[in-house]
């Protein structure tokens, strides 16, 4: 058991040598508000990287910059060796960045299954005319992806709501479906924005399990924003701490936990 864990750890460490994403000197402003100033950090292949910080620190904005929804005013972002200044969100998606959202952004009118299948859009390439027929190759393709999605549904244990429109699901399940949708994209980098908000302990544990499994089995690199320090400290490999748009700390959970600035700005006394 522990041998296996060690082996896994070792693999993670080896993979960690490679960086997947680097953020260099990124700044972002909105009118007078400096959401991010001069942030730099990197994410290594295969690790779980947490981003934490007080409310309004710029965590979500950082993710938005990474996947092209916001365009930083200055600075560079390099993903898989490619540097870019501006890009459209769908380009980020096609390069292998997927994410979940702080305010659940599911497609409310669609069923769970359809939502997850949407994540496969980039992987489906039968053209328009086959789509018109929805038979033969188009159907085969559809089934192939359906099987993939069913695996995800299985994995996330949401079989029972497969055909329920997501708009009416309770909040916690919506978050889970959202994770499923992101997983369906088979991303290289998975950005999770507060995936565990609004969940109770048990559900958080489930969610951690999913995240860890994804990380281990699919080697998916994960960047995670979360306010539950227990979760962050337990599952992440390295942590960046932001405050008012500045980076105030970066390191392993234990290092960060001990950092006085982090304690003052964010953790407070009780942790």
């Amino acid at each position: 058991m522990s041998a296996l864990a060690e082996m896994l750890q070792g693999e993670v460490a080896r993979a960690a040598a490679e960086t997947l994403l680097t953020v260099e000197n990124v700044s972002l402003t909105f009118g007078g508000v400096r959401a991010l100033s001069d942030i730099s950090f990197d994410i290594r292949k295969g690790e779980i990287r947490a981003i934490i910080g007080p409310n309004g620190a710029g965590k979500t904005s950082m993710l938005n910059c990474i996947n092209g929804f916001y365009h930083p005013r200055s600075g560079r972002i390099t993903f898989k060796g490619k540097t870019r200044q501006r890009m459209r969100p769908y380009e980020a998606a096609s390069q292998g960045i997927a994410r979940t959202f702080q305010n659940v952004a599911l497609f409310k009118g669609m069923t769970t299954l359809d939502n997850i299948l949407t994540g496969r859009t980039l992987k489906m390439n039968r053209n328009f005319f086959w789509q018109l027929l929805r038979h033969g190759p188009a159907m085969r393709e559809e089934i192939e992806h359906r099987i993939y999605c069913e695996d995800i549904i299985d994995f996330l244990e949401i079989e029972h709501i497969r055909k329920t429109p997501v708009g009416k699901l309770p909040y916690g399940l919506q978050k889970r479906v959202e994770l499923g949708r992101a997983l369906a994209m088979q991303p290289d980098l998975l950005l999770l924005d507060e995936p565990m908000a609004g969940m109770n302990l048990e559900e958080k544990e489930d969610m951690c399990r999913f995240i860890l499994d994804v990380n281990r089995h699919f080697r998916t690199t994960i960047a995670l924003i979360e306010h539950d320090m227990g979760v962050v400290m337990d599952i992440s490999d390295r942590v960046v701490v932001l405050e008012y748009g500045h980076k105030i700390a970066d390191g392993t959970p234990d290092e960060v936990k001990a950092d006085q600035r982090v304690i003052d700005a964010y953790l407070g006394v009780s942790h």
Partner: protein, 359 residues
């Protein structure tokens, strides 16, 4: 009790992904098609075919078109009337330039012209959203309508300025023109509608339909999932206008048999179709049919049905009553079920499933 999936196991994904996975639904569809293709032509009189069924089918087609745009992709449009007009004129030009080609081919082909125009007017949709998009489509509506009057080439320089539908044969029987019987026109129209509905259902149930709905529900998230917004929206415009265009061609050639297109494809037409879509249920193909039935048949039924029951009311009073009743019914149905008749239908099925228990 009678309507439930219990006992119907699906062993393959293909059967689970069928549009109608439940046996009862498939039987129902078969029965409807049978009635449509056999029962109605046999039993319905010419009046019924001409003033009830043919308009209903034409409007259903247009409503499907608009539903693809508004219901599935979430882009509000008030230009569908004009796009129908484009189809009608395209068909007219095509069949007068190439009289030898079968008219049914031209009716369907005219949709492509409407699609092209639709794409042009859909371009602003990337930047303009929500109710604001109405303006782009209204610009289309009024500009196209203006062109229909202003470009005499479109109506072959006719002195009347109207589309004059020539006689065309289909399998040796007149299909358009004065000598075409309502039955032939109805059957061909039903064929077109059935075929195009099948296509539409394929589209909306597959990848493309999903990306449309994603754009509708949350366009930003859709883009982050790798759906390119502009192509998706333009495709919706194209497909939607295609359907409207075919509906327009059908309207002129299989229903009206010619006339002032400027007048027939006005803004009221666009509104009418939008209402069909909303009353029927946004994002539902069945809803398109139900909405078309409601809005196109109800006034006729009130006008001719009530006197037929022996209640003599003067035409004007009937007309006013029709307006009042139609207005009241629209509000009533919206209150009962804002998601349209299609949803009502679903809830009905749900209740049937539970029957005899209330929930």
């Amino acid at each position: 009790m009678f309507y439930r999936e219990a006992g119907q196991f699906k062993t393959t994904y293909a059967s689970d992904m069928a549009v109608l996975p439940i046996l009862q639904d498939r039987i129902g569809l078969a029965v409807i098609l049978l009635i449509g293709f056999v029962g109605i032509p046999l039993l319905g009189g010419n009046f019924f075919l001409q003033t009830v069924m043919i308009p209903f089918l034409v409007f259903s087609l247009a409503a499907i078109g608009l539903n693809i745009l508004t219901g599935y992709t979430g882009l509000l449009s008030l230009g569908s009337g004009a796009f129908m007009g484009v189809g009608a004129y395209a068909c007219y030009k095509l069949t007068t330039i190439y009289p030898g080609v079968n008219i049914v081919i031209w009716i369907v082909a005219s949709g492509f012209f409407a699609a092209a125009i639709g794409v042009v007017f859909g371009l602003p949709s990337l930047r303009i959203k929500g109710f604001y998009l109405i303006v782009a489509t209204l610009a289309a509506q009024f500009f196209l309508q203006w062109s229909f009057v202003r470009i005499p080439w479109l109506y072959n320089y006719n002195a009347s300025g109207a589309i004059e539908v020539p006689q065309r044969l289909f399998a040796g029987i007149p299909l358009t023109g004065a000598n075409a019987t309502p039955v032939t026109r109805y059957l061909v129209l039903l064929g077109i509608v059935t075929f195009l509905t099948w296509i539409a259902s394929n589209l909306v149930h597959g990848r493309i339909g999903r990306s449309w709905m994603a754009v509708r529900d949350m366009d930003i998230a859709a883009e982050l999932m790798g759906i390119r917004l502009l192509p998706a929206k333009l495709l919706a415009f194209a497909v939607s206008s295609f359907y409207c265009g075919v509906a327009g061609a059908c309207m002129m050639f299989l229903w009206y048999g010619g006339g002032e297109a400027n007048d027939a494809f006005n803004i009221n037409q666009s509104f009418t179709i939008l209402f069909m879509v909303i009353i029927g249920g946004l994002g539902s193909l069945i809803g398109s049919f139900l909405g078309a039935a409601f809005i196109s048949i109800l006034p006729t039924a009130l006008k001719f049905g009530v006197p037929a029951l022996g209640i003599a009311i003067p035409g004007t009073v009937a007309e006013h009553a029709t307006y009042i009743l139609l207005g009241a019914l629209i509000i009533f149905f919206l209150i009962v079920e804002p998601h349209g008749l299609a949803r009502l239908w679903q809830i009905g099925k749900q209740k049937l499933r539970m029957w005899p228990f209330p929930y």
